[in-house]
Subunit: 370 residues, 2 copies
């Protein structure tokens, strides 16, 4: 809350909290760097070498604005998804696209439905544009399509948010379940299907893309499987009318030319994607094993991270998390009970997970002493 | 205008026009590339070699999100300006920052004052958030501080926009004039002082920065003198309260990590900046000479471009511009009379300006035949 009269009444009413404190900010507070960076679901396996080369070449050309239409990238993605480029808009990561989407669709005071504990940056945008959030509990650590749809009907929601696979739990629904949800979306509501982690999920998790379907907009990103979080490239897939609406408000020359070049090369490098998928699968297995070695359970995950159940409440999990941070292992945890009994550990390389394996017993022992 | 019921009433009311069509989009329409790219006020002299190296190194690390606080870059800029980092917010170019600023300060229906023919992307954002634009005419090809302030008083404006040097005319006011304008800003109004081209202006063009002054917010960029338009890095300087407000709405992890690294290196490379300033001064002289050689006048410019007066009305200037485009020289022109008697030519290297010198006589001759 602020009372600066230069700001709009809506902005004056906003809370002074941010969804996430970045690892660099934490390192500055701590006064020393982390040794393992496993908290922000970044891909330690890195971007495609071809993407790196493309970005390095593009650096010379950075005096030019990026192509305002991201024509080549949209053409490539459209071909890969078997849709038209008019069904795709590129943005500064899913975060940026979610902001634009809320701006486009949520008038001040309008209701929006999400799960209690789902992606906080979506909530940040809804609050930021004056939407009113209605939250539905997770069911058995899954976002609950039926409850979300029922709540949307009840409140007349403009948007329903569903991430599949879910962040922060890593749980997922199969394509049939998601398709049933799409069919059940009430008139006047748009389903925001955040598929940031879809490349890590089993085949049959993503329902087929129907670019005519005006009930759903799907979000994809180069930040996760493509290892380009720092490049800020995401895209939304929807019917042509909805996608065209982004052109009414987006920052037309807002995309980095280097990021555009990198994303194009990354999109074309299927081998690297397969390599990362294999590395992530291995890392998930290792995190499951480390949890078991420490007497903990972990949740099956279709994402690039694993939620490890610390076996007690949020206070205890927070103590474990703090113990890991003290031991220079950066991880995060869910914000809301009962999911906050877990800590969320991103897939890491062997050295990262060695550090985790080394740090976790001490972190647990310390937490149990509190 | 659209009637898609998924969109807010405000969005439904927005025009389906965009401020600028990029050169790549024009090239696709034409079916062939431009030979000289002198239309978007990009720096053909390129970014600092040290910035290129920094970006190339950062490409390997792009799997990490950028620092959400842009700590190093803000620290460097604060030191250079002799202010605190709390007075600086980094954004995706001035375009992105203008969007956030309008969102922060302009409730729907609130009045905003600018010059008729000044930066259209500012107008785009004001329209996009439902503000009401009040436009003041240029006076002798200069944005007119007294008229702008008088209009702001008359309508009770939330914002006044002034670019100094001006885009698209290249004209400028000295620091004393701008400071007088700041002193005259009415209670309840904020002056947006867009200094995108300030590095090309004579000493004594920018008034001293007073980070306590709550009447003005200043916009700077790495897109122009630093030759990094494609990296999307700008910054705003203002009092700490106003700057903190950006944190209530901005996309906290929205900055490219590569762009952050490049901007930091560019900010530290004073030699390259001096080199570019000299090149731009040379290019301006050459553009003036080419205009004279063709019997045209050109406006004195404190920016990285020159407005060349084609000596008749906007229709004629448009014909000259089209003649240049046909001859593969990309330029732009002011949108509004009487400034639209000019075409706006960005500083180019010797080869670019050779192409201009070659193309202009034919373009003029063709225009005179129409």
């Amino acid at each position: 809350m602020t009372t600066d009269p230069r700001l709009t009444p809506l902005v004056q009413s906003l809370p002074r909290t941010v969804p996430f404190v970045g690892p660099e900010a934490q390192e500055r507070d701590r006064g020393r760097p982390f040794k393992a960076r496993l908290g922000a679901n970044e891909s330690v396996f890195g971007p495609s070498p071809q993407a790196v080369t493309a970005m390095q070449e593009a650096a010379q050309e950075v005096w030019k604005y990026g192509d305002s239409e991201s024509f080549e990238l949209r053409t490539e993605l459209a071909a890969q998804h078997g849709i038209a480029m008019e069904n795709i808009v590129i943005g500064a990561g899913i975060d940026g696209l979610l902001g634009s989407l809320v701006r486009l669709t949520v008038p001040q005071g309008a209701p929006v439905v999400t799960s209690d504990g789902a992606y906080p940056t979506f909530n940040y945008h809804v609050n930021g544009y004056g939407g009113v959030l209605h939250k539905v509990a997770y069911t058995a650590d899954h976002e609950d399509p039926e409850h979300l749809v029922a709540k949307a009907k009840e409140v007349g929601a403009r948007l329903i948010y569903l991430s599949n696979p879910d962040n922060p739990m890593g749980t997922w629904h199969d394509a049939e379940t998601v398709q049933r949800m799409i069919e059940a979306v009430p008139e006047g509501t748009l389903l925001v299907l955040d598929e940031a982690y879809i490349e890590f999920a089993p085949d049959g998790t993503a329902p087929p893309i129907d670019p005519q379907d005006s009930r759903v907009i799907r979000m994809r990103t180069f930040s996760k499987a493509h290892g380009m979080a720092g490049a800020r490239v995401g895209y939304a897939i929807g019917d042509a009318g909805l996608i065209a609406a982004f052109n009414l408000v987006r920052n037309h020359f807002g995309m980095s030319r280097i990021s555009q070049a990198g994303a194009l090369a990354a999109a074309r490098d299927a081998d690297w994607l397969a390599h990362v998928q294999a590395q992530v699968a291995t890392a998930r297995d290792r995190i499951h094993a480390i949890a078991t070695d420490n007497g903990l359970t972990s949740l099956p995950s279709a994402a690039s991270f694993v939620a490890v159940d610390c076996g007690a409440d949020g206070t205890f999990a927070k103590a474990v998390l703090n113990g890991l941070l003290e031991r220079d292992v950066f991880v995060r945890m869910p914000f809301v009970a009962p999911q906050d009994r877990c800590i969320r550990i991103s897939a890491g390389g062997p050295e990262d997970l060695d550090l985790l394996a080394e740090a976790l017993p001490g972190a647990l022992a310390d937490a149990r002493k509190l």
